[in-house]
């Protein structure tokens, strides 16, 4: 039991991301309402972003913005700065997630205008009527 607890404390960032990802996956699969599915998708994306950003963290390190190096070149030690790559990748991911969310919302508005509902079972009923 203490082993498991120690494991959780040492790696709580991964546990957090797994829990969030499963919440998002559950919402995407099980919810009936399209907007709730979209919210689930956003939670899933946020979990991935948290995962990557937490990978980039290093203990006792600071932001990857190099200060006061105009005098002494070659004095930059990678261990003093957190990993910039996950941040760059996640900047991309956030932007793409905003774009996909915008388009998905636009589609949802169109679906509502056409069928007057966003519930999936009702949509299926309307579609089979025609």
């Amino acid at each position: 039991m203490t082993d498991v607890l120690a494991l959780i404390v040492a790696k709580y960032n991964y546990w957090l991301y797994v829990v969030l990802m499963m919440i998002g996956l559950y919402a995407m699969i099980a919810k009936n309402n399209l907007i709730k599915k979209l919210v689930g998708m956003n939670i899933f994306q946020t979990a991935i972003i948290l995962f990557y950003v937490s990978i980039g963290y290093k203990r006792d390190a600071t932001l990857p913005i190099i200060e006061n190096v105009h005098g002494g070149h070659g004095s930059v030690h990678a261990i003093d700065y957190i990993n910039p790559l996950p941040h760059v990748l996640m900047l991309t991911a956030i932007v793409v997630s905003v774009a996909t969310f915008g388009v998905a919302m636009a589609l949802a508005v169109r679906i509502y205008q056409r069928y007057q509902t966003l519930e999936e079972d009702e949509l299926r009923m309307r579609l089979s009527e025609k």
Partner: protein
């Protein structure tokens, strides 16, 4: 199963985790010498991964375009509501062909109009210029401190959205025309691509900012930083315009007359 898998993952904050030992150390140690940009995130984003960011801007532009194409509705409303500004009497006009011409006395209004709250309007009116200045600051400081085109663009865009929320959508659309928004979104992408293309006749590769040195009146060492700044400005303009396009199209269901 995923939870079981975390047992094999590196510890929280481990400086020798696999993600932090190969390429990222090279970036951290060499990026400043190679690009003269202190903010490594921006250096990687706009220089080493310039292509990625360019097409990301294109993705943003495409998202705005998709929202516009899906939702925009140019038909006129059947019924309109006008309010007499002096007395508050509301006129309900059923025939859309009849447009009231006495603009001074009558105000074209939303269907369910509620008087705007004075406190909210005043606070937003005071806040919005500061938010916009802050957004410009974030865009301009992308290479020397935390900031960048995407973040600054979102702040600028949200200041415009705040205007639409605190007043109403018509106030925003009177100030920022739809055509202007579309043109700005395209200009932003074109600034990025333009800077990238200019590098080619100057004798370098696509997106090789160092070849811009003869064009810019500054220290040749800082040319890469200036190139990145130009690119970030392009990104900022595109993101601002697309944010507003997406918001306006979604809240008014494409009619651009009333909404949240």
């Amino acid at each position: 199963m995923l939870l079981y898998g975390t047992g094999e993952f590196p510890d929280w904050g481990d400086p020798y985790s696999p993600a932090s030992v190969h390429l990222s150390n090279d970036y951290l140690e060499k990026a400043f010498d190679q690009t003269q940009v202190p903010n490594i995130v921006t250096a990687v984003l706009a220089d080493y991964r310039g292509f990625d960011t360019m097409f990301e801007t294109a993705v943003i532009f495409t998202a705005g375009l998709a929202c516009f194409l899906l939702l925009r509705d140019f038909r006129e409303k059947e019924e309109r509501f006008y309010r007499h500004t002096a007395t508050g009497v509301i006129l309900h006009v059923k025939d859309s062909q009849k447009v009231l011409l006495v603009e001074r006395e009558f105000e074209y209004m939303d269907k369910d109009w509620v008087p705007s709250d004075l406190i909210i309007k005043t606070v937003c009116r005071i806040l919005i210029p500061f938010i916009q200045i802050y957004g410009l600051y974030v865009i301009a400081h992308g290479d020397f401190s935390p900031g960048g085109g995407f973040q600054g663009g979102v702040i600028l865009g949200s200041s415009l959205i705040l205007l639409a929320i605190s007043y109403n959508l018509k106030t925003l659309m009177r100030r920022v025309k739809e055509k202007i928004l579309g043109i700005y979104a395209a200009i932003g992408v074109l600034i990025y691509v333009g800077i990238a293309v200019i590098c080619m006749p100057m004798g370098g590769n696509f997106l090789d900012y160092s070849t811009l040195a003869p064009l810019l009146p500054s220290d040749p060492h800082h040319v890469r930083a200036l190139g990145m700044l130009g690119v970030e400005i392009g990104v900022g303009i595109a993101v601002t315009a697309v944010m507003v396009i997406i918001y306006v199209n979604i809240v008014s269901a494409g009619r651009h007359d009333e909404g949240l």
